[in-house]
Amino acid sequence: MKEYYILILLFPLAGFLFNILIGRFLSTKWVSCIGTFSIFGSLIVSIFAILEVFQGKTIEYNVYTWILSDDLKISFGYLIDQLTAVMLFVVCFVGWLIHIYSVGYMHGDPGYSRYFAYLNLFVFSMLLLVMGNNLVMLYFGWEAVGLCSYFLIGFWYEKKSASDAGKKAFIVNRVGDFGFALGIFLLFISVYSLNYTDVFQKIPEIQGKTLNLLGWHVDLITLITLLLFCGAVGKSAQIPLYVWLPDAMEGPTPVSALIHAATMVTAGVFMVSRLSPLYNLSEVALAVVAITGTVTAFYSATIGLVQRDIKRIIAYSTISQIGYMFAACGVVAYGAGVFHLYTHAFFKALLFLGAGSVMHAMAGQLDIYKMGGLKKKMPITYITFLIAALTISGIPGLSGFFSKDEILWYAFASAKPYGKFVWILLTITAALTAFYTFRIVFVAFHGKFRGTEEEFKHVHEAPSIMTIPLIVLAFGSILVGYFSIPHFLDPLLGEPKLVAPDEQKKMVMAFSIIAGLLGIAIAWYMYLAKPTIPEKLTNTFKGVYKILWNKYYVDELYSFLFVKPTLWISYKFIERFTDIRIIEGIVNGVPALIYKISRLIRPVQTGQIQHYAIFMILGIIVFVLMILSM
């Protein structure tokens, strides 16, 4: 049976090949059928796999040896345990719903088959990433999702901003992946294996070993885990490499949903959880993970407060929520982190698809201040969006509450010295999250329409192919929290050690609920009850507003620190010196040299036939004399 689980990978791959090769010659009906059913096939097979995992089995199967070179032996094999099972469900199920939604959303786009091909490839890469039983397969999937994100963010490549955003995502990810690759190399030369099971068996041997790095003695495991975390920072959009994610909004909205919910950005959290035995051995790495996550969560939430672009607000909220997951991993509560990943996939996909539905109705309008009062015209979108907003705000009973509360509790009760810091900042972030999410709800869906009359007439509910995924995801957002992922994952990831008594759990919970409700209440007060307040606040705190509106000027800073110097060096050094002097110097210099030498001997050829005759005769005379003299 277990050899059949390769089908989980083969279905989307087949869908990709079909759509990229012959999709363009077929009608859209065929393309969408193949595109969605390939993911549906994966979903069915992975449900079988998940059921097997439920019976307590761990499926590991090596299909074939992929690379064999001396010590390096890498097999193409998959490992399906509890963690992979959760990921499989998220990727296949949410991915499938997004595919269905795309059928409606991308209707009539000239690149329809290309879109579905890339979407399938994206899901394939992510499945490869989560299913691989060694780090090389993880890395392969890791790079492949990066590639697909480039394809899909720059899907409308004729738009300059879209192709730029695609490049930005690719290049920023490259920075993180560089560290990730180094981490894998270092791990390999430390334990001579990359298979998860072997690595985890061998890591106690390298515990406490140090590495001489430019004269500093660095703990080997800390270095490996931090390098690997570099990759996670890039892929999961944490400080300082988060800048690509807001720009990734240039892609079609379902792509954003796919990147943010089911694939790609969750890869970092998955990787850290997968390698939890490694991270557990390094206090420094855990602290870095926790603090990066926490600070990112807070930081991007503050940016989200003032943005006006509906997709950008949700993008910043993704960065923030991924920060929560990393914070959970940092306090050793990997289960809680993955739990949040799992619930987040549902409500974030729902938020994005809801935003897509709004854009669909508003002819691509993104500015929430140009919307308003949409709830009457789009009741299904409104209700589902509201459910997602309530979920992300952590309202009790909905899935987001369970996972967020779990993280906050583990942070609070953690034995780590930074536990309380994480808890405080994340609780504040919870309030901010509720605020900016409900800002969208109140500004875009309530109140009066702010656009023209004509635009308002155009507003309509999305077709049912788009609303059904919304409804399913809304039910998902409500219900998935009742399945306790941390409990399910405990045998694999271990239970964190807690120092706070259980009675305080109520207190932590109360704080998180209060934070969520407070955020909603403030949003309600500011945007519905007293709509003049936001303007007043903006005018009073002009400096703060400006910094937040310009996203702390990080893009400008990076442009100043990295982009401009690179361009300067490229122009002044690479173009002027290397290219013109060295390369063109060689290319043009060799012919010039030949020309000069040949100019010296060219006069021999006078073009006068009699001269040639004389030379011939002289030659003959010389030969005759030589013969005679012998």
Partner: protein
Amino acid sequence: MIPLSWYLILSATLFSIGLIGFIIRRDLIVMLMCLEIMFNAVNVAFASFSYYNANLTGQIFVLFSIAIAASEAVIGLAIVLAIVRNTGINHSDEINSLRG
């Protein structure tokens, strides 16, 4: 009987006349004629050696050589004619477009 050396002196003289004429004359037609003279000088040497050695091979060679000389003359004249028609030049020192 005329000794062999006389024939060879005749041959050498003819060859030298042809050679010097080829080098110093600029007229293309004259140069071709000089070439013919050189050919025939060689033919004389062939024939006389053949006669004195009582071996017919040399005389057969002469026939070959005359045939080749004829075809060479045809090609040479055709080239000269083409040059003269195209450029109006019939002096070899004015034809130098292949100068390096």
